[in-house]
Subunit: 249 residues, 2 copies
């Protein structure tokens, strides 16, 4: 069973008996689809795979798979992510379930969409067999996707935009040590506000939260004044939340 594989038999459920027989309800399936976000310093990216089989052969799609009968939904989403990227223990959040009757041409399949935030540098193209067909796409250059994946992507992007302002999940997209400029660029490229965030106000605000710790070392390898590096202090954040703190940018 590979990710986003198709089904091995001709099977159209759509005209089934919908009245008495309860058994007829057990002829549908569910899948998970992951919207895997990454950030390369400039643009927000999403990891897509190119389908090898019909339906939608050669189209780009969100990585996903059917959920095993004895597998929890979250576990399935984690599995899909790990099979594709080799990563475990990353940020994962359920967003929405898509269940239009005709969304899958080969049967009744509803899919639960997840967003995943990974540090793009941790992703190695060689992690999975279909690596050659997996590629980062700029978030606004994804084109026509398979199934209803454009709609799913939109929903997930909206969720990300909201969530990134109200929870410190942006850090999931950055390396452990980052500069304030990098952090701000992340927010700018996720939020895409009409005006970019103001540098001074942004730094004031984020530093006033006391969630960043200054690293002793500086940025290296840049052809200009190097910036201070910071780390996000997860522990402190936990404490603050207990005290009623609400992250807000």
């Amino acid at each position: 069973m590979t990710i986003s594989s198709t089904f091995g038999r001709e099977n159209n459920q759509r005209n089934m008996d919908t009245t008495g027989e309860v058994g007829s309800f057990f002829k549908s399936a569910f899948s998970v689809d992951n919207v895997i976000f990454g950030f390369d310093g400039g643009d927000l990216k999403v990891l897509l795979i190119q389908r090898g089989q019909a339906p939608f052969k050669d189209k780009w799609a969100l990585p996903g798979d059917l959920v095993y009968p004895n597998e929890d939904l979250n576990t399935a989403a984690e599995r899909v992510l790990e099979q594709l990227t080799g990563l475990r223990g990353v940020y994962l959040e359920q967003v929405k379930t898509f269940g239009a009757v005709n969304r899958h041409p080969l049967g009744r399949v509803i899919t639960v969409a997840y967003i995943t935030l990974i540090k793009i540098s941790n992703y190695t193209v060689t992690a999975a067999s279909f690596a050659q067909s997996a590629k980062w796409h700029n978030i606004d250059e994804v084109g026509d996707l398979a199934f209803d994946h454009n709609e799913i992507l939109e929903s997930c992007l909206r969720r990300l935009k909201r969530k990134v302002r109200t929870a410190p999940i942006g850090f999931e997209l950055l390396p452990p040590k980052f500069t304030l400029t990098e952090l701000q660029q992340l927010y700018d490229s996720v939020l895409r506000l009409p005006k970019r965030l103001d540098k001074r106000n942004f730094r004031k605000k984020i530093l006033s939260m006391n969630l960043l710790v200054e690293c002793p070392e500086m940025q290296e390898g840049v052809a200009h004044r190097p910036a201070k590096l910071y780390q996000f202090d997860r522990e402190k954040y936990g404490q603050f939340v207990n005290e009623g703190f609400i992250f807000d940018i």
Copy 2:
């Protein structure tokens, strides 16, 4: 097929083959469950039904049903609501999908949870056959529910608390004409903040949005000074949203 009915056959999917045979994936089902919120002027309420059959016979549960093979998820949620209350066209929002392997004792069933906001006065107990077993419960007096419905209810309540502050959905719980005090009581009982909202500040804020229109008539039948009645102006809200307005209380 009745709401929250059980399955007519012995059927345990949990030890199925999970490897090759794709057909084995088409042996699961999905359902929708509705968290129907209402407000009676004092407390936030949720409409529960008492189960007539095993499993969880006699336990209180969220109204829900299996999704028909040719039925969209939203449609199923609307159907469940209508069968129970006779209401159509009310506020409905998908919240989250629950899919733990063992959440349903009779098979693999994942469920999509919805919240629904209705005007409690519109609800007539006689609307459906199971009306006798449907009852409004105070939100903090629901006790032990069937399945994982306590968890579902918690998630949906959290969502309601957030959403009620960022979108004008509170009005869905009130009659078309309401007083500012009623509106504030609604917010107080949904949000349950450590301190109740300040009357003067609340009125200032809500009126400054210019979303309420004053009715010519006054409150009637109260043993004290009658209050002005207001209506929510949906149209204006639509315009304001287009201009970038963000509802926020």
